[in-house]
């Protein structure tokens, strides 16, 4: 499903900074994998590379057999929109769009028919139990509710891969638990492959597999 082979990422600047060094990783379909490590260990960089938001300096990343390095920017975007859903720590909802519009945005970008878009967006918001908040703007929602909207948006096309960067990092413990439960529910219902970047061990322990990073290298790959 996801395959990384000798992937390195170096940030060029006045001083070179190596974020990832010779990382190889195979993630099978349907797995829920947590990526842990201290700050600066390269976990977010790894997620960004898998999500096609960034390109590796060297090495190869394949998503369902497709080599991301060989794709143009627009093709990379197409992979992202068809196969990957993102959940961010700070939700990244568009403040001027209401819940329904936020969830519908990726579908509009895919040029789905309008009726189908509305039905799907409502269905997803129903799935994350926010069917009563369709017309609300992000500012009118709690942190947990915003993250639910973000998850609904990430799932808008039912992508086979869901990438979550600290999905509970900006939430209180109780709300964080609720979000994790939601992700687990969705996994059991949709069977998506899920990667969660976290520094919360409790979150990591709830995953099937935990990959630990330190100084840009995988130091542990533990399965339960």
């Amino acid at each position: 499903m996801i395959s990384l082979s000798h992937v390195s990422k170096v940030f060029e600047g006045k001083r070179k900074a190596t974020a990832l060094e010779d990382v190889s990783l195979e993630i099978a379909k349907g797995q829920v994998v947590s990526i842990v490590g201290p700050s600066g260990s390269g976990k977010s960089t790894l997620l960004n590379l898998i999500g096609g938001l960034d390109r590796p300096t060297s090495g190869e990343i394949r998503i369902e057999g497709e080599n991301l390095a060989e794709l143009s920017d627009d093709d990379l975007t197409r992979v992202r929109r068809d196969k990957i859903g993102f959940v961010f720590q700070f939700f990244n909802l568009l403040p001027t769009l209401n819940c329904l519009e936020n969830v519908a945005l990726p579908l509009h970008l895919r040029k789905w028919p309008r009726k189908k878009i509305e039905a799907r967006a409502k269905e997803l918001l129903n799935l994350v139990q926010l069917d009563h908040r369709l017309e609300h703007l992000p500012d009118e929602l709690s942190g947990g509710e915003r993250q639910r909207v973000a998850i609904a948006r990430a799932l808008s096309v039912y992508p086979p891969i869901l990438l979550a960067d600290e999905p509970t990092g900006n939430l209180d413990t109780h709300t964080g638990q609720e979000i994790l439960k939601l992700i687990e529910d969705l996994h059991s219902r949709l069977g998506s492959t899920i990667l969660i970047v976290t520094h919360d061990l409790e979150v990591a322990n709830r995953c099937f597999r935990t990959v630990s990073l330190r100084d840009g290298r995988i130091v542990e790959d533990r399965r339960r």
Binding site: N48, L53, D54, D82, N92, L94, L105, S156
Partner: protein, 850 residues
């Protein structure tokens, strides 16, 4: 200062292009301002210099407008005991037929007495020519030219110089070359001197002089001499010092320079919005830097001062460059304005050096700096308001450019109401201009609210057209009306200016077109020159019979026009054959009835005046107009006010019989010729040309040629204005670039999210393009609305203070129709760069952007 060096300088170095664009706004405004005033000053100064240089040691000059006066006046002046020296002068701009030399100032002087006033400093032994005037007199084709003119055209003594005279092109012989000193500097050296009696002949002046130059007797003051001459000649002659005479001409350019000043100020105001935008960007981009400074203990005042210092620096650099560029532009504009002036008024002037006024340069720089400080004041206040907690907190974002102000809206409404109230009191100049200024201010104050309203109106339309890109583009505008409104305001002002000037031009063209249809309807015109404003050469009335005898000619109407002084301003007098003219011309009456005004004017019992004359000089029906003539003060009542565009400063129409009697002159400068019905105009014209060939160098111009020439003059008059409009539009486009740059900076994360969830590059680009188009559309709507109001005030201003023209309000629909695609195309072009920068940046950085 330390902060300026540590923080501002590195930021400036990172954004050189943007600051260059910002400075361009100030540079343009100041440059146009300095250039226009320098050009104006240079022309006036050249006028004064020429008059002074030609005057020699003359202390007073006697004149009676352009019509001149009989030779006998000279004896009356010379008989005045206080007068030491009195010599006659004829002065005319005549066309040289030397390629590239244009016109030359021909000075006719009395060789026997003139050297007591003027020194000709002839080269080598040429003095003999003047020492023995008979040598000169014996050869009426003799001229003396300046050393500059001779060198420029490789002329020597006995060389031949072709000049246009009453008899057409005629060769003159150079008998002497004047050294470079004193009067030879006049008119850029394009000066020729000839015997006054020869000049009378070649210019068709009869036994008339243009002027008498006087020096008072020793021991007599200039004032005493002036009083004595005035007493001897009566009120019908002007007795002035040479410098006072020069000042009369300033009025001719006043309306033009005022219009230019207004448009340069418009450009400066539009530039102000660009500066505002640039500082708004700077504050947006430097939020975290400001947050750190605040966290480290910098006070709000220190932050505000930092931005003020930046604005002063930018203002000073931009203004200094603008002043420098303005001086450079001035020489081009001076040449252009001299041409316009010569072609519209007949007063030629050669400007050889620019009159650069240090005070003007300082004023230009001061205006630029003040504009810059004023424009930066709101962003500086926003910078001071940056909350250090929000600025430094990850994931928090303080949108500084957002927000709408209820107080401002209330103020806008109040200002609008006062402005409307001023309309009712607009008979007073103060209230009229106060209303105008307040209406513009109200427009600017309302711009953010109206921008918001229109953005909200656009949202559902855009959402319907392109649900993702359209919605986000509209939301971007809705989110930050102040950010958008700066550019919309710039665009609105530019368009208001375009609509105002365009509407004025359109109304003017329409009115002049109607006037030409009514008044300029002869089949052809006979004139000594292709340029109808040249009045230096006249032809005798006997020409009438030559033309009338041509087969196919139905009617000939002679016209003599010239400027005379009315209330110390040169005004155009047209001596027409009223009875004949009334049968062919149907002037549009503004006051009085056509039949009555024609009857009374024809009987010599009154005169008609143009509405612009009536407006400029605040005269009404029945008022007595006093005109100085060689036979005394001519007093005639106004018996009709008509639409007439013969001269931009207004015109007076008297009957030819009145002119002949009072000026003792029966010459003419134009013959209006009508062809009999059924005759071929082209054939008759050729017959007239044949009839005039041989004994007169007159031209026969077709109606179309004259109309085209007038239209060309108007085009030239408006050309500089159009250039200024282009400058204003350019400045507004810079504004759109800046706004989109701020918008993209403000929405970097938003655009990143859009890409992260599947937005293709073209979809991101489209979002930016739609935003730019929307700004263009809103600017067009508001600009057209404000332009419609501006047009009303512009026409009012033209009527009151810029030529007294009473033009109908005609909204320039075609102009606006042209501006729609122009502005939308400009918006698209302005969006290309920002749209590319939006899709080129790092997605990861965009998603983490604070």
């Amino acid at each position: 200062m330390m902060l300026l060096r540590l923080l501002s300088w590195p930021y400036l170095r990172r954004h050189v292009l943007r600051w260059t664009l910002t400075l361009a706004g100030i540079v343009l405004g100041v440059a146009v301002f300095v250039a226009m005033h320098t050009a104006n000053r240079s022309i006036f100064s050249a006028f004064d210099k020429t008059i002074d240089q030609i005057a020699g040691s003359a202390q007073l000059q006697v004149s009676a407008g352009e019509f001149g006066f009989d030779e006998s006046i000279l004896e009356r002046v010379q008989a005045v005991p206080e007068v030491g020296v009195a010599v006659p002068v004829i002065e005319a701009n005549v066309e040289t037929k030397i390629p590239g030399q244009g016109s030359i100032l021909l000075l006719g002087i009395d060789m026997t007495g003139d050297r007591s006033l003027r020194d000709y400093e002839l080269k080598d032994a040429d003095d003999a020519i003047i020492d023995d005037p008979l040598v000169f007199l014996a050869q009426p084709d003799s001229v003396m030219v300046t050393k500059e003119f001779a060198e420029r055209n490789k002329l020597e003594v006995n060389s031949r110089v072709p000049l246009l005279t009453i008899d057409g092109e005629k060769q003159f012989t150079v008998r002497g070359i004047m050294s470079s000193a004193g009067m030879t500097q006049a008119f850029g050296g394009n000066l020729a001197v000839m015997d006054i009696y020869a000049a009378q002949q070649v210019l068709g002046r009869g036994r008339r002089f243009d002027r008498i130059d006087i020096r008072a007797k020793e021991g007599i003051t200039v004032d005493q001499c002036k009083a004595a001459v005035k007493a001897a000649l009566g009120e019908s002659f002007e007795v002035e010092t040479p410098s006072a005479r020069g000042r009369h001409f300033e009025g001719l350019l006043r309306s033009y320079s005022t219009a230019m000043t207004i448009s340069s100020l418009f450009a400066l105001i539009v530039g102000m919005f660009i500066i505002y935008n640039s500082f708004a960007i700077a504050v947006t981009q430097r939020r975290s830097e400001i947050g750190i400074l605040r966290a480290l203990g910098a006070t709000r005042g220190q932050i505000q001062r930092l931005f003020f210092l930046e604005s002063i620096t930018a203002g000073f650099v931009g203004s200094a460059l603008g002043a420098f560029a303005g001086v450079g532009m001035a020489s081009v504009i001076t040449t252009y304005m001299s041409t316009v002036l010569e072609q519209t008024t007949g007063f030629a002037q050669r400007v050889t050096e620019l009159a650069i006024d240090p005070k003007l340069i300082v004023a230009g720089i001061a205006i630029g700096v003040i504009t810059s400080i004023f424009a930066a004041s709101i962003p500086a206040r926003s910078a001071a308001r940056v909350d250090p907690v929000q600025a430094l907190q990850k994931g928090k974002y303080q949108v500084l450019s957002a927000g709408e102000n209820r107080r401002r809206r209330r103020m806008a409404l109040t200002v609008s109401l006062i402005s409307v109230a001023c309309l009712f009191l607009s008979y007073s100049k103060l209230f009229f201009y106060a209303g105008y200024v307040l209406m513009i201010v109200a427009g600017l104050l309302l711009a953010p609210a109206l921008t918001l309203l229109l953005s909200k109106c656009l949202r559902p339309i855009l959402k319907q057209l392109l649900p993702a890109e359209g919605t986000l583009a509209a939301d971007s505008l809705v989110q930050a009306p102040r950010r958008t409104s700066a550019t919309v305001s710039a665009l609105m002002l530019s368009l208001a200016m375009v609509v105002g000037f365009g509407g004025f031009a359109h109304s003017f063209y329409t009115s002049v077109g109607e006037w030409m249809d009514n008044a300029l309807n002869p089949d052809f015109f006979v004139s000594p020159s292709a340029n109808l404003v040249v009045r230096a050469i006249t032809f005798p009335a006997s020409i009438r019979s030559v033309i009338e005898h041509v087969a196919g000619v139905d009617q000939v109407q002679l016209v003599r026009n010239a400027r005379v002084s009315f209330r110390n301003v040169p005004v155009m007098v047209l001596a027409i054959e009223t009875e004949k003219v009334s049968g062919t011309v149907h002037r549009m009456p503004v006051a009085g009835t056509t039949e009555e005004m024609n009857r009374l004017t024809g009987q010599g019992k009154g005169m008609m005046v143009s509405d612009s004359f009536a407006q400029i000089h605040t005269v009404r029906m029945g008022d007595i107009v006093e005109l100085p003539t060689p036979s005394g003060l001519l007093k005639l009542p106004i018996v009709g006010i008509v639409r007439d565009y013969s001269d931009l400063q207004g015109s007076l129409l008297i009957d030819r019989s009145v002119y002949t009697k009072w000026w003792n002159d029966d010459t003419a400068n134009v013959a209006r010729v009508y062809v009999k019905k059924g005759e071929d105009v082209g054939v008759v014209r050729q017959r007239v040309i044949d009839a005039l060939a041989g004994h007169h160098g007159l031209l026969v111009l077709t109606n179309r040629e004259v109309r085209d020439w007038i239209m060309k003059l108007i085009d030239q008059w408006f050309a500089l204005t159009y250039n200024q409009i282009a400058v204003a539009i350019l400045v507004a486009v810079l504004g759109i670039v800046n706004t989109l740059t701020v918008s993209i900076t403000d929405r970097r994360r938003e655009l990143g999210v859009m890409q992260a969830v599947g937005g293709l590059r073209n979809q991101i680009r489209r979002t930016i393009w739609i935003e730019a188009f929307s700004i263009g559309v809103i600017g067009l709507v508001l600009g057209t609305a404000l332009g419609a109001i501006n047009l009303y005030y512009s026409l009012g201003m033209v009527k009151r203070d810029l030529g007294g023209l009473d033009l109908d309000y005609i909204f320039p629909l075609a102009f606006v129709a042209f501006m729609i695609p122009t502005i939308l195309a400009a918006s698209f072009i302005a969006a290309i760069g920002p749209a590319e920068s939006a899709v080129r940046g790092s997605l990861v950085e965009a998603l983490e952007y604070e």
